[in-house]
C-alpha cells in the first residue's frame, strides 16, 4: 500500500508530518449492534503531502480523521506521526495536540472572539511567547493570507469563505505538522470554493505541512491533491490510490487541462460505484 517513502522524523520543520495508518479498525458499538466504520485500513502519507481522502458521505472517512486528531478511539491497529505512536493497542485514543489541527466542516472559530483573537488563541494557550509577540505574528499571518481588514471583526460578521481562511490561519499559528480538513468547503458555492482552493494552495506553498483532506468532491480532490485515496463505502478502506501527476504550483487553469479531464474520467467511475453502494445502504437503513 505504501507508495511514498516516509522521511525520517528528525528532518527540519516543513518536512515533518508523515502519517502511517497501520491496519486500523474502528467498530462502533453504541447499543450492542456492532457497526464497522473503518475496516483494516492501511495508508502511508508522506511529510508535506496533500493527501485527499475521497469517498461518499458517511463512509467512515471522518472516523479516520477523528482517530488521528485524538477525538475518537480506534478498535485495533496503529497510527504513527513521524514514527511516533499516536494510538495503538495499549492506547486506543491519541492525545489531541497542536501538531495536528482540524479544520472542521462547519468551522470551529470561536464566535465570541474576534478573528485576530481566534488566530492568537493557540499560542496564547501554550504561553511560550509573549502576548505582544503573539499578536504581532497573528497580524502578520493574517496579512499574508489577505485577511488584514477582518482582524477586528467577529467571525459571524464576515463571509463563510473568509471564515475558513481565518480558521486555516488559526491552525497554522500552532505550527502544526498536519492539517486535517473535514470537508471544509462543503457548504460553499462553487465560485467561492474555487477561490478557496487557490487560497489554500497559496497558503500551502508558503507553509509546507502535511494535509489530510476529506472530501466527496472529486474535482476538488484532483485539483488540490498530490494523491487521491478513494475509499470504499462503510466500512471504509482504501479502494484505489491515484497519483495526481499535475505539477504544483497549480492554479485554476488546471481544471480545463486535458490531464485533469483524464484523471476525472479515470476516477469518477470508481467513486460513482461507491456512491451508489452508499446510497443503497442508506436506503436500507432508512
Amino acid at each position: 500500500m505504501s507508495s511514498v517513502p516516509i522521511p525520517p522524523a528528525d528532518q527540519k520543520s516543513g518536512s515533518q508530518g508523515a502519517i502511517r495508518i497501520d491496519d486500523v479498525v474502528k467498530i462502533y458499538d453504541p447499543d450492542g449492534a456492532a457497526v464497522m466504520a473503518v475496516d483494516h485500513c492501511s495508508l502511508d502519507i508522506a511529510a508535506g503531502e496533500i493527501c485527499m481522502i475521497v469517498g461518499p458521505s458517511g463512509c467512515g472517512k471522518t472516523t479516520l480523521l477523528n482517530a488521528i486528531a485524538g477525538f475518537h478511539s480506534i478498535t485495533s491497529g496503529r497510527i504513527f506521526l513521524d514514527g511516533e505512536l499516536l494510538c495503538g493497542p495499549d492506547k486506543p485514543l491519541a492525545d489531541p495536540g497542536s501538531d495536528r489541527i482540524v479544520v472542521f466542516q462547519n468551522g470551529a472559530l470561536f464566535p465570541w472572539k474576534t478573528n485576530l483573537d481566534n488566530v492568537a488563541f493557540g499560542p496564547l494557550m501554550k504561553g511560550k511567547l509573549g502576548k505582544n509577540e503573539i499578536y504581532e505574528k497573528a497580524r502578520g499571518m493574517m496579512a499574508d493570507a489577505g485577511l488584514s481588514g477582518a482582524e477586528n471583526n467577529y467571525p459571524g460578521e464576515v463571509s463563510s469563505g473568509l471564515r475558513r481562511r481565518v480558521e486555516i490561519v488559526r491552525a497554522l499559528m500552532n505550527s502544526p505538522k498536519v492539517l486535517l480538513f473535514d470537508e471544509p468547503y462543503r457548504a460553499l458555492d462553487s465560485l467561492t470554493k474555487s477561490v478557496m482552493h487557490e487560497a489554500l494552495l497559496e497558503i500551502y506553498y508558503k507553509n509546507k505541512v502535511t494535509i489530510f483532506f476529506i472530501t466527496h468532491d472529486l474535482e476538488e480532490a484532483i485539483f488540490l491533491g498530490h494523491r487521491l485515496v478513494i475509499m470504499t463505502t462503510r466500512p471504509c478502506r482504501p479502494k484505489k490510490l491515484l497519483e495526481v501527476d499535475i505539477p504544483h504550483p497549480r492554479d485554476y487553469g488546471v481544471l480545463t487541462s486535458k490531464r485533469f479531464r483524464e484523471l476525472m474520467e479515470e476516477t469518477s467511475a470508481v467513486v460513482h460505484e461507491e456512491a451508489k453502494k452508499s446510497f443503497a445502504a442508506g436506503e436500507k437503513e432508512g
Binding site: 485524538g70 497542536s98 482540524v102 470561536f110 465570541w112 488563541f121 494557550m125 471583526n153 467577529y154
Partner: protein, 274 residues
C-alpha cells in the same frame, strides 16, 4: 450625528411616530371610555369604571412630591434587585456546575425539576414561616421567581455547546480551566443573558404579588413597596392611585429590562454586530 439630533430622528422616524400615535389613541379612547357617563350618558362596561387618564395624571402629579410614593418604588426595586442578584449569584454557578459535571447534574436535577413547577407565590406562606423577617421572606420568594429560570437557561446553554469548540481548544493546548473560562463561559453567556432577562420579568411579577399578600413588610403604607401601594390604594378607595401604581410598575419593569438588555449587549458584542 449629535445626541439631540439622533433622538429627534428616532422620535420622528416612521416607527417612532407610529408608536406615539398608537399611544395617544389609546389614551384618548381610554379618556372617552372613562368619561362615557358624563359625555355620552351611558357607562361603558369595564372601561367606564376606570379613572380617566387625566385624573390619574393629576393624582400622579400630586404624588411626585410625596416621599412615601418614591419609597414604594425604592422598596420594590430593592427587593427585586436583592432577589434577582441572589438568583444570579447562586443560579449561574449552580447551572454551570450542573452542565460540567454529570454526577452533580444527576444529583441535583431531579429535586430542581420537582421544585421548579411550584409557582413562587405558593412559597409565600412557608417562607413567612421559615424566614425571621417579612423582608427576607419577600426577597426569598422574589429570588425563587428568577432562580429556576436562570438555572435552566444556564444548564441548557452550557450543555448545547458544540463539541467542535472543545476539540479545537483542546488541540490548541487549552487546559481544562482555559476551556471553562474561554469556551464554556462565553458560549453560555447568551443563555445567561436570556435567562436573566426572563428572570427579571418574573421577579417583578412576584415581588408585587408578594407585597400584596404579605402586607408589604413595612409598618406604614409608604414602606410597603409598589405592590402594597396598589393594595393600599384599593383598600383606601383611591382608584386613581391604583392606576398610578400599575403604570409605575410598568415603567420600573421596562427600565430594568432595558438596563439588562444594555448590559447583555455589552457582554455579548459578537451577537450585536450582525
Amino acid at each position: 450625528m449629535s445626541g439631540i439630533e439622533r433622538i429627534r430622528k428616532k422620535i420622528f422616524s416612521r416607527s417612532g411616530l407610529r408608536a406615539a400615535v398608537a399611544l395617544l389613541a389609546f389614551v384618548v379612547l381610554w379618556e372617552i371610555g372613562s368619561r362615557s357617563k358624563q359625555w355620552l350618558g351611558i357607562t361603558l362596561p369595564w372601561v367606564g369604571k376606570i379613572p380617566a387618564p387625566s385624573t390619574v395624571l393629576a393624582v400622579w402629579a400630586g404624588l411626585l412630591g410625596d416621599v412615601g410614593y418614591w419609597q414604594s418604588w425604592l422598596m420594590s426595586l430593592f427587593r427585586v434587585l436583592a432577589g434577582f442578584s441572589a438568583a444570579m449569584l447562586i443560579g449561574i454557578p449552580l447551572g454551570l456546575l450542573m452542565a460540567v459535571s454529570r454526577t452533580f447534574h444527576g444529583i441535583t436535577f431531579p429535586s430542581l425539576e420537582l421544585l421548579r413547577p411550584i409557582p413562587p407565590l405558593a412559597w409565600v406562606p412557608i417562607s413567612i414561616i421559615f424566614w425571621p423577617t417579612q423582608e427576607l421572606s419577600i426577597a426569598f420568594v422574589t429570588f425563587l421567581g428568577a432562580f429556576f429560570t436562570v438555572v435552566i437557561n444556564v444548564v441548557g446553554g452550557a450543555r448545547s455547546i458544540d463539541s467542535r469548540y472543545f476539540q479545537a481548544a483542546q488541540a490548541m493546548g487549552a487546559s481544562q480551566w482555559d476551556i471553562f473560562r474561554r469556551v464554556v463561559l462565553p458560549a453560555t453567556l447568551p443563555s445567561i443573558v436570556v435567562g436573566s432577562s426572563v428572570g427579571m420579568g418574573i421577579t417583578w411579577e412576584v415581588v408585587v404579588a408578594a407585597e400584596m399578600i404579605s402586607g408589604g413588610g413595612g409598618s406604614s403604607a409608604s414602606g410597603g413597596g409598589l405592590g402594597f401601594f396598589i393594595w393600599n390604594s384599593y383598600v383606601g378607595g383611591s382608584y386613581e392611585q391604583i392606576v398610578v401604581g400599575m403604570i409605575s410598575i410598568g415603567i420600573a419593569g421596562y427600565a430594568c429590562s432595558e438596563v439588562l438588555r444594555r448590559v447583555g449587549g455589552y457582554l455579548t458584542p459578537w451577537l450585536q454586530k450582525r
